[in-house]
Symmetry: C2
Subunit: 311 residues, 2 copies
């Protein structure tokens, strides 16, 4: 159970490592939906994504003896960079297991901070197995990508910053992949802005969260065939339990609109964002009658795009 | 003579139309130059560029009788969008003269707010002649792009926002084209942060400002052959007089590094910026020994890139 105090402590703990990112309004979206949209720009974190929050909240709770053994994780993307960056800051080693078919930019970035990258087969089993073997052999501490209370509490700090600036939001909307961000956001709202409804957005082609939320039972496999590479994973056990009783709804994004919306968003907002970030926008567009007159924050999760392999 | 009060009044006047844009730090630039860089993100204005500040400060000083006659201007780019947007807000007509070879995105955006676009030959003479003829015939009020005290005072408000947040800056750096932004910035610093040095940055291939500043005599022609399309114009008379006695220096950017730096900047900052915006960064990189240990704000002027004609 993540308490109010856990979230407040996480906010203090990560400050200085994660940046208090700006909330930026956008005339185009306001006019399009006749509402007020604020974009929480997590792509402006040092690693270009919100994942630094969870990784920082985890790494900073390790004992010196644990830390000195180094960090290990498996990730296809932004969590890899987050753990690599934390190890760099804390001057310990990091080993990151990444699937062979990862976005080249994300591999390059993880390497930039000095982590050792171990490539594995592009299956979740291979990732976990490889990372566990490394942890066992080397004694490195595993920092899980989302299925841990420390990670969820860390991710909740983005919504804490939003709520500190605006305590009158109708909605906060985040993408839903492993569920760390959505779960954390839903707890921040529950404790500190109970009138704000929290919505998750998922690609139709990776709708395990939607199905789980609808049936009240977590779906543990998904044949994710979405361009939104950050959202291909299934929702974790701990995030699912939190999400199920704290969010208002999950909205789906039509797959064939994601890429088109990404470029539209780049053009209208001058922000480089990943396909995963526009999943909430595509989903919102399909629900636009619900947005009219509302004040809404959308968490823009990251901007680590591989310019050499644009969709 | 633009006074302290003129600038304070401009700041109050434009508020609500121009956005108080965020100042965003960036680890990549900090590490590269061993200093603290803050990016003033004018690309997040509604029109995607700082030019709204000057146009707003001008239009809001017109008498109702003048306003009702409509607005006219000539511009190859962001000023066109600024005037078009002001006319839209104030519910009057706008006629914008744009050279035939303008960036298609900027033409499209100017049209988006309802302005009538008149295309002309791509020479400064044709632009001015066409716009003057329209003003004479229709009675529309001409809003000049930079060579007017109201425009300079309007552009000064970006630096006012920077200084309000940080009164201990060593440098503020802006690109130099027509000179409205640099002149306005230099006045804001002179009046409100006198220890901050203001630097202009120009492409080597459009260095009329640099030559004029060095010789103390304005250069009125330039064979501008730079990819930084916003900086191809020569410095105006009014801006030149202000710049000459209020800035610290002008630094030049090597032409062949501008495009490479633009993509590097996109990748490292997740911001879409025009080639003109990276001219300060290229110029700073060449002067990096002067930046060490300093606190520096860079005004990022706009993000209206034509994705179908990327350099």
């Amino acid at each position: 159970m993540i308490s109010k105090l856990d979230i407040q402590q996480a906010s203090s703990r990560v400050r200085g490592i994660s940046v208090k990112t700006p909330l930026i309004g956008n005339t185009f979206l306001n006019d399009l939906w006749d509402c007020e949209v604020l974009l929480k720009c997590e792509q402006f974190q040092s690693i270009g994504a919100f994942k630094i929050r969870g990784a920082a909240n985890f790494a900073l709770q390790l004992k010196p003896e644990e830390l000195s053994r180094g960090l290990v994780t498996h990730s296809s993307g932004n969590h890899a960079q987050a753990v690599s960056y934390m190890a760099y800051i804390m001057k310990v080693k990091a080993v990151i297991v990444m699937p062979k078919n990862s976005n080249q930019q994300k591999i390059k970035n993880a390497r930039k901070w000095g982590a050792e990258i171990v490539l594995c087969e592009p299956t979740i089993e291979s990732r976990i197995e490889t990372a566990n073997a490394i942890a066992k052999e080397s004694g490195c501490i595993m920092i899980p990508p989302f299925d841990h209370e420390w990670i969820v509490a860390g991710q909740s700090t983005a919504a804490m910053e939003i709520i500190a600036e605006h305590n009158d939001l109708d909605y906060i909307i985040t993408p839903l992949g492993g569920g760390g961000l959505l779960a954390g956001t839903s707890l921040s709202a529950r404790y500190f802005s109970p009138n704000t409804k929290v919505i998750g957005a998922e690609p139709e082609e990776a709708a395990d969260g939607y199905e789980g939320f609808s049936s009240d039972e977590r779906v543990t496999t998904v044949n994710a065939n979405t361009v939104a590479d950050g959202l291909r994973t299934t929702v974790g056990e701990i995030p699912f339990e939190i999400i199920k009783s704290n969010i208002h709804d999950i909205w789906l994004a039509q797959e064939d609109q994601i890429v088109e919306w990404m470029y539209r968003f780049w053009n209208e907002t001058k922000m480089i964002v990943e396909p995963s970030c526009v999943v909430p926008l595509v989903a919102m567009h399909a629900q636009k009658e619900k947005l009219k007159g509302k004040k809404i924050a959308v968490i823009i999760t990251g901007g680590n795009v591989d310019f050499n392999a644009l969709p």
